[in-house]
Symmetry: C2
């Protein structure tokens, strides 16, 4: 086999990690796992699969949360992990060409070694891979300043279901020569082809980060703070909101920061090119917010260790200790409707589901909320479905998105019509059909 | 006819402006001009055209430079100019919902009235329309800070060739629910459907602009200046480069700014939230650049009138007075190769074409150059073709883009393969075929 027999795994040689992503859904062992080492080998693999009518599930770091990389038993899993490495950094044009199997953190490190920053960052940085980051249009903690992965993408190399290699690695920032194929593949979750290389835009590496944990008494104050932060802080890179009950639960697990917990806690972070000026500007901004009675309290991190403590509460890694049956949702809602959305969701859940608890937090600056659901009867899949539907009903009613950054995969597929019209879905199917007429690429995902 | 007989023009009632865009190419009177006043009327019009197998050319402000909106005699021209107006501005989420026929400047003004900024800006602002701005993925003078139109687009309503209305106007910043249809239509130049509405992301309105005209002795200094400006000026919104011969010709026409002309002139502009601090930071930056011997000279605009004088030279509206047969090209090239590209182009043109003059300038911060060609024998279309091909050959050799922001239209169609591989073009055709199987939408454009 042209892709190299050492790159073909079957049976017990297939590691468990190929069975499921972080959602722990599915958990089927695929019939074959391929680990090609070049784009040409990916092409050859897809050609062979196409000839035999075999369906293909592309896999990266398996950190997805929507089941997008989970195979069925009859699928061929195609992992890019053996095709890794940063191929080129152009410090003048500020671009990076990187292979799909590269761990995000390794790519970040390579940029930093050149005095630049790869602007995409997320909790899974240590294990997620660039191919998956692009395929799921990953968001993360710096979207407010730099946009989603798609906005930072200058080109891709992809392999179509029939083995055709499409290469668009010129890396031009401005290139109006026909359809933007790279941005179509971003967020397509492996359903249109396999991403093998990406050109990503780099940014100047900030010299300092300023981080504050802010306490606010009402949602209007949160919106006022956001307004002023966007206006006055050009380096604003994060505006993370936690409702008081989420914040309080997590500070009890991670280490107390503010007692009693405020009604709303916000982490503001900015990136600046000079520590001293940045600190002074930030202090002056916070002082103005106190004067205007927007802020009730604020802690400014005096070290990166202290800011890490704020982020630990926000990221909630220890939440499983308090909510062992945690289910995490990820939605977008207009900022105008956000408070009403949360209030109505809480009311609906209290009224309909005994013992189910819902905590709200997220990247509020972008309208993105996460919802931590504690559903004690976790074996009851009908109950889980009902709770999720209860929340997604509200999202639909308020014309939000049922997936802000996690994607659709299999887990949200039944809800796609909550955020997309029948004609939009029909159009997506037309595009899918055009690029993958035999339906071999990641079947059953998204559509 | 359901679209209203007053919206259907034929024969002499069709204004000359429907014949061609700013490129003055084509110049055919279309058989019919439709001016629908609602999305439903656009849908009805396309359904009727589809039933009769009539080809449709969408038109906006007719300010394009690639012939993308020029009809043939047998085409139905469909102008969106009667469907205009800003429908909604959400100051909290910072989004605008706007109809396709809205003049860009009117949309900018509506944002400013709410204390916000529509970040897309270009010379044709007073006559170009939002639909065309999106369809051509317009660039302009603030791309360095805010990206192209596509990056500022949160959703679209479009009508497909069969009359299907696809509406994605939720305006979420983060929305990972399947393929990004809006971003596929951006830059598709009317070949996939008709854009009827857009949701555009707004930004905080800057309180002040600082502008300087900088003189530099060498291209390495230009690259150094760009590096430091990107690093030190968070509000950097423009970095416009002019080779000395272009600058000198234009200052002679517009009013002298610096004599003798420097080897390179650069306009740096930044947007700040505070006039005083912004001025001080900018002066300090320029002082550092002098100290490091990067700058040879600089004029800081003391008023918006003075900065307008700098921009007048850069935009070169009077260039026709010196170059009556002007042909303007628009390419992208890696910053690493830019100096060599210009040198080799000038050599090649001097060696091959007597009396042809080429001047270089553009949005260098994004790798985008414009090339002003003076071709005295302007009736000689073979000569024009040969000169263009001479330059595009260099672009291809250096893996640049033959259209940075103007699009492909008809005028660059023969050169599409210079920047796109056969497999990329084949994939574009597959997408086109999927969305417009009868080939009725803007035939002969792009592909």
């Amino acid at each position: 086999m042209a892709i190299g027999s050492e790159c073909v795994l079957i049976g017990d040689d297939i590691p468990d990690r190929a069975m499921s992503d972080e959602s722990r859904s599915g958990r089927n062992k695929p019939g074959i796992l391929l680990r090609p080492r070049t784009s040409e080998a990916v092409s050859e693999a897809l050609r062979i699969c196409a000839r035999h009518g075999r369906t293909v599930v592309p896999q990266g770091g398996m950190t997805g949360l929507a089941g997008g990389a989970c195979p069925r038993a009859q699928d061929v899993a195609l992992s890019l992990d053996a095709f890794s490495g940063v191929e080129n950094i152009d410090p003048v044009s500020m671009t990076m060409t990187v292979r799909a199997g590269t761990i995000l953190q390794d790519a970040q490190k390579a940029a930093e070694d050149c005095g630049l920053m790869l602007p995409i960052d997320l909790g899974a940085r240590g294990s997620c891979q660039i191919g998956g980051v692009v395929a799921t249009n990953a968001g993360g903690i710096r979207v407010l300043r730099y946009g989603m992965t798609r906005e930072n993408l200058l080109g891709l190399e992809v392999v179509l279901a029939d083995g055709t290699i499409i290469s668009d690695l010129g890396g031009m920032i401005k290139n109006n020569t026909g359809y933007d194929i790279a941005k179509l593949f971003a967020g397509s979750e492996g359903t249109l082809g396999v991403i093998t290389r990406a050109v990503i835009r780099l940014r100047p590496l900030p010299m300092a980060r300023q981080t504050a944990l802010c306490a606010l008494n009402g949602f209007d104050d949160v919106m006022q703070l956001l307004h002023h932060a966007r206006q006055d802080l050009p380096g604003l890179s994060a505006f993370e909101l936690m409702w008081g009950d989420y914040f309080d639960l997590l500070q009890d697990l991670e280490g107390v920061l503010m007692k009693p917990a405020p009604a709303f806690a916000v982490i503001i972070e900015l990136e600046t090119m000079d520590r001293e000026t940045g600190d002074a500007d930030f202090e002056a901004f916070l002082a103005r917010m106190f004067e205007e009675n927007i802020l009730a309290d604020a802690l400014v991190a005096q070290s990166s260790r202290e800011s890490a403590r704020f982020w630990a509460v926000r990221e909630g890694d220890k939440i499983y200790e308090a909510m062992p049956h945690l289910i995490n949702l990820d939605i977008s809602i207009s900022l105008n409707q956000m408070e009403r959305f949360v209030t109505e969701c809480k009311q609906a859940i209290t009224a309909r589901f005994r013992n189910v608890r819902a905590l709200f937090y997220g990247h509020a600056g972008d309208g993105n909320l996460h919802i931590a659901l504690d559903i004690p009867d976790s074996g009851d899949s009908q109950l889980i479905h009902d709770v999720e539907t209860c929340i997604y009903d509200k999202v639909r009613e308020m014309r939000g998105s049922i997936s802000a950054e996690h994607g659709i995969g299999t887990l949200k597929r039944d809800y796609l019509s909550y955020s997309r019209s029948p004609s939009e879905i029909a159009l997506m199917r037309q595009i899918k059909q055009a690029l993958d007429p035999s339906g071999l690429m990641n079947p059953g995902k998204v559509l």
